[in-house]
Amino acid sequence: MARTIVVTSGKGGVGKTTTSASVAMGLAQKGCRTAVIDFDVGLRNLDLIMGCERRVVYDFVNVINGEANLNQALIRDKRCGDLYILPASQTRDKDALTKEGVGQVLEELKKDFEYVVCDSPAGIERGATLAMYFADDAFVVTNPEIASVRDSDRMLGILASKSRRAEQNQDPIKEFLLLSRYSPKRVNMGEMLGVDDVQEILSMDLLGVIPESESVLAASNSGVPVVLNKESDAGQAYVDVVSRYMGEELPHRFINEERKGLFGRLFGG
């Protein structure tokens, strides 16, 4: 049975699109047919991060309005044949999305795909609420700082009360917490909230910790989801996240400051 995953946060700029791209790619690489949808109408980014911005003909709003069918709008990823992208419209705005329209598109996608990843825009208005309304699972992306944590808390409350599952009294959306842009060095200096702090404030366990990494910017600049970069710490963290989501138990990496030994300091690295 297909699962719809929403990647959301409340706060902007925490790493939702980066996460959506890498998680969708990670799932597809494990052999699961995956579709990833950009819900940020008017401010679309997912196509850039996925490196398919020059192949966009039709978009999500075109499909909702019946101007194109799904097959015309979905873009197949060149690196992984099981991954498809549905880009957002750049010329319209969020009012172009309707609950019925979104629902129909998701229903159709679930017939063909095992996972449908919805990349939510920031905020708690229409785009964000529609992205999470039909979700089965939610990845709430948080940065280790108080503004982001509070916004994520708000988003958790909304997920619990304003989703279709909540309205129809079904099992609630399964919530997963992702801590991104984590810097153990700054945590130790007291500048940043630590893993334990965030878990305590949000009363939730972590699905994964993604370290702050220069490789993320490099990845988005080149249109390659960072999970494909085997040497990147962030990339490896996303690999762990996908494995944990699918049931594997793995210890959290990248949460402790690396201590360079004498040789390390002498010879760099």
Binding site: R154, I201, L202
Partner: protein
């Protein structure tokens, strides 16, 4: 006494036997001249007609008994009814006069202990114990975290939260509030004005606490109380926050 064969001990009760004290007007007779009684009553009734209209009246007979007078009860009763009164019983009489009273269906009540008071029927005056306030309903229990932006209100009851209350969340109750977790948001107890309500929490980090409208913001809270289990109550219109 026969027992009703249809009596089933498990059927729900439709009656309740209670003790109650009631105030009734007392008409003390100082003579037995019915004409005089009538004319004097007429004056009184004219002064305050509503007082007597349909009033259940007790006839005080002590003086009549002491003066060894006789009394025609049926005439007395019709006369009183003529003035709109409703004689229901007598008191202070002896055995003979009581029998006469009973023959016209007047109830014989036990003698007075007080003197000239016009009040109380003399049973043991156990006052009605019914509360004028509504009995509070059972507390509402919440066992999931109350997230930022969520509001919870329990009208007419206590609120018990078995998880944390996040920053930016609001919990309100007409009664007491118990948070068996970290309280980071706003807690308002006794929202309808009940000053006796209290707030209890296991880990105190609230933004605002309020009881019956008296509130304190976190800036003005004693730092030594942060993170501790506390109870909060009103004393002389001041919020007291105490470790427990």
């Amino acid at each position: 006494m026969s027992v009703n064969p249809n009596y089933h001990p498990s059927s729900p009760s439709v009656i309740e036997i209670k003790s109650s004290s009631v105030t009734l007007p007392l008409l003390k007779l100082l003579g037995n001249d019915l004409e005089k009684i009538s004319s004097q009553l007429m004056e009184k009734v004219h002064l305050a007609p509503d007082f007597f209209l349909n009033a259940p009246v007790i006839i005080e007979l002590r003086e009549i008994v002491e003066k060894k007078m006789e009394l025609d009860f049926s005439e007395l009763v019709s006369m009183l009814k003529g003035y709109g009164m409703n004689p229901v019983g007598v008191r202070g009489g002896d055995e003979t006069i009581n029998e006469n009273a009973k023959s016209v269906d007047l109830v014989v009540l036990s003698g007075p202990r007080s003197k000239q008071k016009t009040e109380t029927v003399d049973r043991e005056p156990i006052p009605d114990r019914e509360e004028t306030k509504e009995t509070p309903s059972l507390a509402q229990i919440i066992d999931h975290p109350v997230r930022s932006g969520q509001k919870v209100y329990t009208p007419g009851a206590d609120l018990i939260v078995l998880a944390q209350v996040s920053h930016g969340a609001e919990i309100m109750a007409d009664g007491n509030i118990h948070v068996y977790g970290t309280l980071r948001g706003r807690a308002l107890a006794g929202v309808k004005g009940n000053m006796k309500c209290r707030i209890f929490c296991q880990d105190f980090r609230a933004e605002i606490v309020s009881i019956g409208g008296h509130f304190k913001i976190s800036e003005n809270l004693d730092a030594s109380l942060v993170g501790k289990p506390v109870q909060i109550y009103l004393q002389d219109e001041s919020l007291i926050i105490e470790p427990i």
